[in-house]
């Protein structure tokens, strides 16, 4: 009777926040069921305007002789978790675009490279109600806490990330959106492993490992990325692992989410406004062939080389080959008329193409309500669908390496044996706030309006206002990021709340 175990989500997301507490009321657990939006009972900030951290909760699922048994908790097993978090951004290559993955080093003049790496090392906790803190990492000799891990009363793991602290021990200036020598932040990532011994067996078994990323906060939880990290890594599974996507597609589960995400962008950019009204015309299905084709023909074909302009095609977000489009590093490029946009993934595009041709299951009974059941695959999907799947210039939660280079042992599960803590965030901007400041609408296209809204509505305004109004420099974003508002559903609208700037 051989047991095997896997950790889910296979990639979990724990978001940083500057509220310092670590009791259950001091954080909230991120989405665990696809399609759900977590709104903490008292909002995303504390009474002082500090942002609560989002914890990533990991669970163990067990199979006995290949038969799925369910979640394994401390009521039936001894579970020992080990997590390692690291931030190695400052010791990695300068970001120069995804076509240049091996650029010169950041902080090239620093010979003690280890002094640039915030590596507190692994932490291990066994059983329920445990905790351990990642408080021994240093950047140029300065302590940089990266967060902590806890176990709940059932032995599930909770990972809490950093506190949004970015600084320069050398008082270096912030000069670029991506590479700022002498600076650090406290986002991190690393492997999550566990051993499991069913009570009475006395044979600990290594669970198939997971990974955790601790990126910046998600300020617009109701807005999903048109290309989420789930979509991107599903494409990785198709391309590299032979994963087969069900055919024909479901309108409700496959087509509608793409349409709905595009429609929802009206709440985060004035550039859309009511221009996506034609999408409403194809809901409910089937719509006419002409209507479906009219929508599909607006989409950029992913087979087109990334640097080629496709004027006015959708989605209206920049390619992650931005630097190549302009023949230079992209930052600060004037509008030269390029419309080199990021395409949907080939799988998303195929779904839309087949839908346009009438090859889909019309299972529409209305917008699908969020699920109510936690499942292993649902845990992973819920985590990843809240992350950006592109463009990776260099990206929000992780970089192009996660899509293009890193190995997977199964769909959505990285091969931890070939990666180190910090690898998933090392190519991100340092500090993250400079890229986040810069990644606004850059005519004629947007960057990540679901991560950094361009324009929003407030409770008192029927007109768009700039979301990051009042922040005018890299330094402003470093110092005042937690004052930015969070977007919440309010009836049929999505509005900004909790702005404290």
């Amino acid at each position: 009777m051989a047991w095997s175990f896997k950790i889910f989500p296979s990639i979990g997301i724990a978001r940083i926040g500057n509220h310092l507490g670590s009791s259950p009321q001091d954080y909230y657990v991120g989405p665990e069921i696809p399609g759900t939006v977590i709104v903490p009972p008292n909002g995303y900030k504390d009474s002082s305007g500090r942002v609560l951290r989002q914890a990533a909760r990991f669970r163990i699922y067990g199979w006995e002789n290949g038969v799925f048994m369910g979640e394994i908790t401390s009521s039936v097993a001894d579970i020992t978790w080990t997590v390692e978090l690291a931030n190695t951004k400052a010791a990695f290559n300068r970001f120069t675009g995804i076509g240049e993955p091996t650029g010169p080093l950041r902080n090239a003049s620093v010979t003690d490279r280890s002094s640039l790496m915030i590596t507190p090392g692994p932490r291990t906790i066994a059983g329920p109600n445990g905790d351990a803190v990642f408080d021994t990492g240093l950047f140029m000799g300065t302590p940089v806490p990266l967060g902590e891990i806890q176990t709940d009363s059932n032995g599930r793991l909770l990972v809490l990330g950093g506190f949004g602290n970015s600084s320069s021990p050398t008082n270096a200036p912030l000069t670029s959106f991506d590479n700022n020598d002498g600076w650090h932040d406290d986002v991190s990532d690393g492997p999550v492993t566990a051993t499991v011994a069913i009570h009475g067996t006395h044979r600990p078994v290594q669970a198939s490992g997971a990974w955790v990323i601790c990126p910046l906060p998600r300020f617009a939880p109701p807005i999903f990325h048109i290309i989420s990290l789930y979509d991107t890594l599903l494409q990785v599974a198709v391309d590299r692992l032979g994963y087969q996507v069900p055919y024909p597609s479901s309108f409700t589960n496959d087509v509608y989410p793409i349409l709905q995400r595009a429609i929802q962008y009206q709440w985060v950019t004035t550039k859309i406004g009511n221009r996506h009204a034609p999408l409403q015309a194809v809901i409910p299905p089937p719509a006419t062939t002409d209507q479906r084709n009219m929508v599909f023909q607006q989409l950029r074909d992913p087979a087109i080389y990334p640097t080629v302009d496709t004027p006015h095609l959708m989605p209206a977000i920049w390619t992650d080959y931005f630097a190549e489009v302009f023949g230079i590093r992209g930052h600060g490029s004037p509008n030269t008329g390029h419309w080199a946009n990021h395409s949907l993934t080939p799988t998303q595009y195929n779904v839309m193409q087949n839908w346009a041709a009438g090859n889909f299951i019309n299972d529409w009974v209305g917008p699908p309500p969020p699920g109510t059941t936690i499942t292993p695959d649902g845990l992973t999907r819920a985590a990843l669908e809240n992350c950006s799947g592109g463009p990776f210039f260099p990206g929000i939660e992780t970089s192009f390496f996660t899509r293009d280079a890193y190995p997977y042992v199964e769909p959505f599960r990285l091969d931890g044996s070939q990666l180190g803590a910090g690898d998933l965030t090392k190519q991100q901007a340092v500090p993250w706030q400079t890229d986040f400041f810069d990644c606004v609408f850059q005519s004629p296209l947007s960057w990540w309006p679901a991560a950094h809204p361009d324009d929003v509505f407030t409770v008192n305004s029927n007109n768009y206002v700039t979301w990051d109004r009042g922040l005018n420099s890299f330094s402003d974003m470093v110092n005042f990021w937690s004052g930015l508002g969070f977007l919440v559903q309010s009836g049929d609208t999505i509005i900004e709340t909790e702005r404290t700037l």
Partner: protein, 243 residues
């Protein structure tokens, strides 16, 4: 099996009755094949909660509303189980045995009509239900020592095409050699699939592990060509009768 997902949870019970009734023809096909033997009908009904903190409320309903009324109108075996390892958790499982299919329908209809049950079930999350067929000598909820209250129960289903209508004697023999003593052996009602379900009591997870390992090592068991299709582990709910 009745899949409740997506169904209005308030219609669970009526759907269960309907589902069972729709299996009527198949059920009688099963019972007719052994018309000289008495059969028992076993209902397995699961109730799921979204979060563990909802379970006290669920158990309050099952132990405080459902069970007292069931005791008034039903004399057959009953068990209330709480899942500790199952594909869907948190979950409670109610096993109720009836001497006939008609009696099951009648009692379920009475329960469904009871105002307190209707009121309580309006707030319940639905799960799923199975109807199984067993013989009296394969239904031993009451058997065994009282220490079972501290032990565990495993609901385990096999796909075994060579077993035909019921587990052959060699199955029980292999189980005995491994120390496995099912308190329920049943087949799916109204289904022409070789699917057999056992409810087995173990004193502990360790003893369970040893028992199944012993069975797996038994060459005569291997010859029986049975494949596990599902397994769930439970503990007895505090209010559950042992019979």
């Amino acid at each position: 099996m009745l899949e409740c997902r997506g169904m209005n949870r308030r219609t669970l019970l009526s759907s269960l009755v309907f589902s069972a009734a729709s299996s009527f023809t198949g059920l009688y096909a099963v019972t007719d094949s052994s018309s000289t033997e008495q059969t028992w009908v076993v209902s397995l009904e699961s109730f799921r909660a979204s979060h563990a903190d909802q379970m006290p409320h669920l158990h309050s309903y099952l132990g405080g509303t459902f069970l007292p009324y069931l005791n008034q109108i039903h004399r057959g075996p009953i068990m209330f189980l709480d899942a500790i390892v199952a594909p869907h958790t948190p979950q409670a499982l109610v096993l109720t045995a009836f001497p006939s299919f008609a009696e099951m329908i009648e009692i379920r209809a009475k329960i469904a009509a009871h105002p307190d049950v209707q009121r309580a079930r309006a707030d319940r999350e639905c799960g799923e239900a199975q109807i199984l067929i067993t013989s009296p000598d394969s239904l031993r909820f009451h058997a065994g020592p009282t220490r079972r209250r501290d032990g565990i129960f495993e609901l385990r289903t096999y796909h075994a095409p060579t077993w035909r209508d019921r587990p052959p004697a060699a199955v029980n023999a292999a189980f005995r050699r491994a120390g496995i003593r099912p308190i329920l052996t049943a087949s799916a009602a109204g289904e022409h699939v070789p699917r057999f379900t056992f409810l087995v009591a173990f004193e502990s997870l360790a003893i369970r592990q040893q028992a199944w390992e012993s069975l797996e090592a038994d060459s005569q068991w291997s010859d029986l060509e049975a494949k596990v299709t599902s397994a769930s582990i439970y503990k007895l709910a505090p209010y559950s009768p042992l019979s």
